[in-house]
Subunit: 330 residues, 6 copies
Amino acid sequence: MKKIISLGEVMLRLSPPSNERFFQTRQLDIEFGGSEANVGAALAFWGNHVIHLTAFPTSEIGLSASATLRRNGIDTKYIKHTEGRIGVYFLEQGAMQRSSKIIYDRADSVFTKIDENDFDWNEILEDADALHWSGITPALSQQCADFALRALKEAHKRSILVFGDLNYRSNLWKYGKKPNEIMPDLMAYTNVMIAGTRDFNNCLDQEYSGFEAARSDLFSRFKQLEYITTTKRESISSSHNKISAKIYSKDKVYASREYDLSHIVDRVGTGDAFAGGLIHGLLNKDPQKAVEFGMAAGALKHSVPGDVLLCSEEEIQELVLGESIGKIKR
Amino acid sequence: MKKIISLGEVMLRLSPPSNERFFQTRQLDIEFGGSEANVGAALAFWGNHVIHLTAFPTSEIGLSASATLRRNGIDTKYIKHTEGRIGVYFLEQGAMQRSSKIIYDRADSVFTKIDENDFDWNEILEDADALHWSGITPALSQQCADFALRALKEAHKRSILVFGDLNYRSNLWKYGKKPNEIMPDLMAYTNVMIAGTRDFNNCLDQEYSGFEAARSDLFSRFKQLEYITTTKRESISSSHNKISAKIYSKDKVYASREYDLSHIVDRVGTGDAFAGGLIHGLLNKDPQKAVEFGMAAGALKHSVPGDVLLCSEEEIQELVLGESIGKIKR
Amino acid sequence: MKKIISLGEVMLRLSPPSNERFFQTRQLDIEFGGSEANVGAALAFWGNHVIHLTAFPTSEIGLSASATLRRNGIDTKYIKHTEGRIGVYFLEQGAMQRSSKIIYDRADSVFTKIDENDFDWNEILEDADALHWSGITPALSQQCADFALRALKEAHKRSILVFGDLNYRSNLWKYGKKPNEIMPDLMAYTNVMIAGTRDFNNCLDQEYSGFEAARSDLFSRFKQLEYITTTKRESISSSHNKISAKIYSKDKVYASREYDLSHIVDRVGTGDAFAGGLIHGLLNKDPQKAVEFGMAAGALKHSVPGDVLLCSEEEIQELVLGESIGKIKR
Amino acid sequence: MKKIISLGEVMLRLSPPSNERFFQTRQLDIEFGGSEANVGAALAFWGNHVIHLTAFPTSEIGLSASATLRRNGIDTKYIKHTEGRIGVYFLEQGAMQRSSKIIYDRADSVFTKIDENDFDWNEILEDADALHWSGITPALSQQCADFALRALKEAHKRSILVFGDLNYRSNLWKYGKKPNEIMPDLMAYTNVMIAGTRDFNNCLDQEYSGFEAARSDLFSRFKQLEYITTTKRESISSSHNKISAKIYSKDKVYASREYDLSHIVDRVGTGDAFAGGLIHGLLNKDPQKAVEFGMAAGALKHSVPGDVLLCSEEEIQELVLGESIGKIKR
Amino acid sequence: MKKIISLGEVMLRLSPPSNERFFQTRQLDIEFGGSEANVGAALAFWGNHVIHLTAFPTSEIGLSASATLRRNGIDTKYIKHTEGRIGVYFLEQGAMQRSSKIIYDRADSVFTKIDENDFDWNEILEDADALHWSGITPALSQQCADFALRALKEAHKRSILVFGDLNYRSNLWKYGKKPNEIMPDLMAYTNVMIAGTRDFNNCLDQEYSGFEAARSDLFSRFKQLEYITTTKRESISSSHNKISAKIYSKDKVYASREYDLSHIVDRVGTGDAFAGGLIHGLLNKDPQKAVEFGMAAGALKHSVPGDVLLCSEEEIQELVLGESIGKIKR
Amino acid sequence: MKKIISLGEVMLRLSPPSNERFFQTRQLDIEFGGSEANVGAALAFWGNHVIHLTAFPTSEIGLSASATLRRNGIDTKYIKHTEGRIGVYFLEQGAMQRSSKIIYDRADSVFTKIDENDFDWNEILEDADALHWSGITPALSQQCADFALRALKEAHKRSILVFGDLNYRSNLWKYGKKPNEIMPDLMAYTNVMIAGTRDFNNCLDQEYSGFEAARSDLFSRFKQLEYITTTKRESISSSHNKISAKIYSKDKVYASREYDLSHIVDRVGTGDAFAGGLIHGLLNKDPQKAVEFGMAAGALKHSVPGDVLLCSEEEIQELVLGESIGKIKR
């Protein structure tokens, strides 16, 4: 059991049941999800002590968000409840050749007004093993960027391993800053980055010709960097994908097998499940096992409705070993 | 069949099924509702040509909102679809001694940015018989107040009968203006007001000692005023209310019977159903019949889930006559 | 355990969930119900051997109808499955002051074409104790009228006690015959009639001034008649009724208590539940107990969704005795 | 935006949820659908002005049918509401090797009694660009055949482009006429036919040896004929099909790509979606684009529950271009 | 915020939706509930630190039980997960004159095998303010009785206030011991008892003629006893009850108002909600306020589905004050 | 129509809807299923007279279990209802690479206490054609083993063909006996065994090197043995399997085609559907047709939710012939 800190916005996710489109549905299923908390939930499900840092409204919907994280095993003691709104995202699940669709309604959420000084960093980070952030947080507001940077600095001060999912999204970054004004500072405190060439180009305002170019520049520019991790996804349709992942150290590569994923149930949060598995694996010091465990976690998430991987370590290990796939377990 | 214009915000209503509380629910039922459109929907259901003026997002959720009004018989030709968000309200249905609860998340909706000049008033108001507005619209933003005033002036110019539900809500009016800076101008163009003493005091910054004081002042101050209408509700519990209504002209009173409403299904929109019935009745020139028809419409709405009264004129007339109540109609 | 024959149409019942109106619903709950089979199902639930005679389509929907009767304990061995359609009725549950509404789509069902010669009356009626019919059957078609008359004659021949629920419905009787051309023959073979003054007037083309006038004429006209039973229902609203019943012999009256029925769940089939209880009671020869048992059965049905009373004898006896009402039974 | 007239029966579709069979289900999901109105709904969704001509009952279920078309953007002003019943079809969705199953209960619907003289053809067809009919309509009753023929003649008189989906169904045509007594007259006014060899053989009482034989005979026999369109479907299972389409002019062929459709959600209405796309494309004069747009529309429909394609032009164009398939759109 | 320990079995509750009976339902709604944990959940909802002591299986259903308590704010750190089964109870909600019905399937649950030595009492009870037990626990098995007695002794040693809901149930106590062999020892460590005459008679094998007789004997026999609390419930039907409560010290009585509870949603857990309110109130030293707060909590629970009161202190206070009942709160 | 006796436990099956995991679900769908009764239900669906022998509780849940078998066409006359519990199994449907999961809670069910002397074997077995048992029954308790042996002996005495599905499950057999102490006696009365090498090794405590070794030994050891049947399943994932079957007589082999089963809906009961088809086929004396019919039945079951194949003989024959696969049948 490790102590891990995750931080980031958690939104109310509303999605039509049974393949319905937004235009026709009369009901919405509720989940609460956000990239970093999804990572945290996976880690908590495997027995780690995960503290998530975020802000929710004081309303019953905010209380319910907090309770849902708690249900998933996350330590919610440090979550701030303040007046305001929760970010919302409407998710229409795709099927076949029809894409999934997300409509965001997240502007001005209480998370965007989070204050780094409201958190007792000594208490939160005491004896922590790892901290996980993503590029979504600094993209939301200056307060969010400040909050993320503070967290990373505090973690760095205490030699806590920092994982960062760069996760560049062009439809965010609306508060006046460009990624490369903000991201390099955060990347400088990050030991393991989950990112591809497109993320690096956008976050650093570069035009790397390919991943290898990016990789060599990154390792020379960011001295604390230990690993870069990338995932590859081939979309045959919304219901059928193929995925695989690689971990790169400065001079080595650890590749996972490729999974053929047909009959997809819910693709949302699959990258987060991978990130959770990766962190869980790397905290145990074996990159090869980590990339296999992470990818199996990511693969299994496609079969679970909701934002969160709800699969045990044993289930993931069985997939890594290729055992009992599709059997009925009694 | 009359031609009637209604105007106002329509929100996405999200409510837990089966008496569940926000804290525990995993699903939300979808409706689209707003006070003035609810009035319009009732009028359309009875065969009137109702044009509703509002704004929705261009997203599928905005298209669905528009389609839902259209399904209810409203003419949606003049609705504006622009980039932005739809106002949302979360409704937790009360039961027994537990109150119903509404959480608004309506700030910065596309309706609050509506522009009076986007509408072709000549075409919209041609041959119209009535226009209905409520005090919610001018409470939302300066643009909304301007839009309402413009509509009323245009209606007045064409001798269209104007109905206004003053509907003072203290938790709105956040854009810097006070009600009495805005409402008197609108009231000056209104022929039939739905309001009680509290509404008058707040809208006019008065301290009328009681309804009669308000009534006499109102009729002397607003020369175009033909009727004031008030409803009275006694809440024994969320599941059991008693309601009645009165129409006052300058010198006469028309009172409805009182309804004892037990086993309430959905209280939201009951005032709007009353207003719809009132307009329908008054356009036919008989205040006594209008108050009875309106109150019966309002009473029946308590039995229908959603924001909108979906009851025919015949059903309402049967209740007015006290016939067939609780029978099975085959 | 008695052997009882019931006969009559069973329809596919389709009703919107959760108080929704037809106009707004997106789903329909399925039941299969018909007055006489509802009576039979109650009797079967209490351990009697009940044979129901009817016809269904050969389609899966017809098979499902048959299977549902069988599930409820009815012997379905003699049901005919033929090409054609099943009668359908759409039921909108009322609430409060809003009435329940039934839309029939039953014309040309396979039952209307039933052939009396398709049934082996010797085998069916062997050792039977009672037969139950209703006035709905002869109202549907000449074949149905012939079928009912044949069944009654065959029962009479074997001294089987015949129960008949006259149940006059003005919107049936569309095949060219008037009730008084058909009903007197059927009444002549009936030992126990469930009916009120209105039924007698319509079935016999009389204008009895009141129940007592009808009663004395009926007992003198129909020599085999042992009892007339009437129920009285006061409808405060769709959610609140009061009911009671009386059994009249030629010279005695047996009255049940009155039940105050608030928070009604499903009123359909409550008269059938009463009839079932009445038959169950009268086969045990005690009219006073029969009227109390029947009325308690009818009262309890208001609390059970669907067409069929699914309450045990013990539950009904408890209500007769006024014990444990509203307690939690563990 | 074009003005397009569609005509044909719209039925109440009732289907068990979640892969259930008729025999086991307790609930039915409601849709309203019919081949020609499905075509109309697709065209309306893309911004065309679509008038649908049909008849519905006056009951709430008939009103709900009308309202549902209106919700989908169809102009319902000319729909007749008369006493009677709505056609019903029960749909059991297939899965895997199990076929989908439809039970029709459509006899004697109000549509079968439609009267061509109840429609103001001048007003309806004014400035129309196209009219769409199918071979289902003349198969239902003589009145329906007369109604279709009248519509086609009126369209022809005004040089409106006529599309016809021959759609021969052997289980219809029960009113005493054979297809070749009726269909040739209708085909004579049709500019674009959607049909295969089997349709031609049945409608014209021919025995064409293959499509090419039919094609050359058709173009020589029907002088107004501009295009014949055919689709080809290979059924690996209920969940997996392959489809493609071709447009033939007298001397040219335009072929679409083939779509591999796995994880099918709802196959009903996919031919109608294709027809809608075809009309939309051909009104813009480019047969190659029309066949690609139509086939992409048809392919996407397989992913949408219900009878109606609810996909925007942009979504269909993306599939035509092979972009973003299976991605999450944010 | 107080620290409170609750202990007792938590079962999987399975109940048919929408007033259905067990015999007809096809679905069961899931809750997890147990008398003492329900008390704990109410106390946690109001901000107290509540530790619940119980045992669950290691299966996903056991994990889900634990997670649900955690979601409700309970500290689940000390819950034991061992191989075995969870107790199950099937709940059929009553309605009208039909009683609610519970079928227990709780034998041999892992809780019945709980071991007092598996708990670190020093850590658990450190700085605790109160401990709550009920008479259900010692009725289940000798291990359970030992576990309860140990907890009470440990609490007594540390001067923690002990609340006990005697809750005699005749269908438990099947392991060979009689209540009066076990209960007196437990009552000797209890400061506040929730019980009526029937409980005292059964637990102490007495035949007190009435409550006053019991009260005087109890206070003289149990020296540590500070208060006895009783509730009174009048059942008009399953949907309509009246309730009130009293707290007795040795020489004083504190009575709550009576609540008239119509349109009951879910009666289960209402006694637990009262107990929770009572504890919350008494820990603040004012018996009059405690009895009013407790009874208002119990009354509100009737409106909330599930085992657990999910109402805030503010909502309960409003009911105590009689404010805003049945209003819509915006 | 044959008369067939099946015997074995029927459990309450509870499963989360819509791909949900146990940990997250809030609802459970109800089925009643058990291997042998599933076989019986398939046989009854095809018109055979099937008597199932089992025991259920007297509770409403036990009554509902019985009623559900009756609904599926099984003769439930000889089922025993006694005080106690029903066995429960919780089923989590797998998807993709995630396995299905079953949690059993079946200990101490009333079936495990079944008494062979409670059955009137003369009446039950009169004129029976076949009896079906499985290896689950003798694995549950000594009473169950005795009950099975008695049934087989009684069948043998009357020359009834005995089918046995050996179905070795290691997590049963907890009552002190080993399979080879019990199974050989039962196998000695069995004419057709459904089993693979693993079953033979476990039931006979052998270590056969492969199926052929087992086969030759079995046929020499068990003189009454006519056929051994095996099925082969390849699990690509929970959603995609391949299956085929073979029947072996002493010297011949009959092989079915292989089915490629993608988009699996519900795998539970597919082996039982195969067994039902096999029995149906073999009673008609054609092993080749039997293996094809059985395998097609098993294949189709994958598309039907629940434990029971609800497909007609015609549907299965169509699959055998490869006709109409994936078509819409109208």
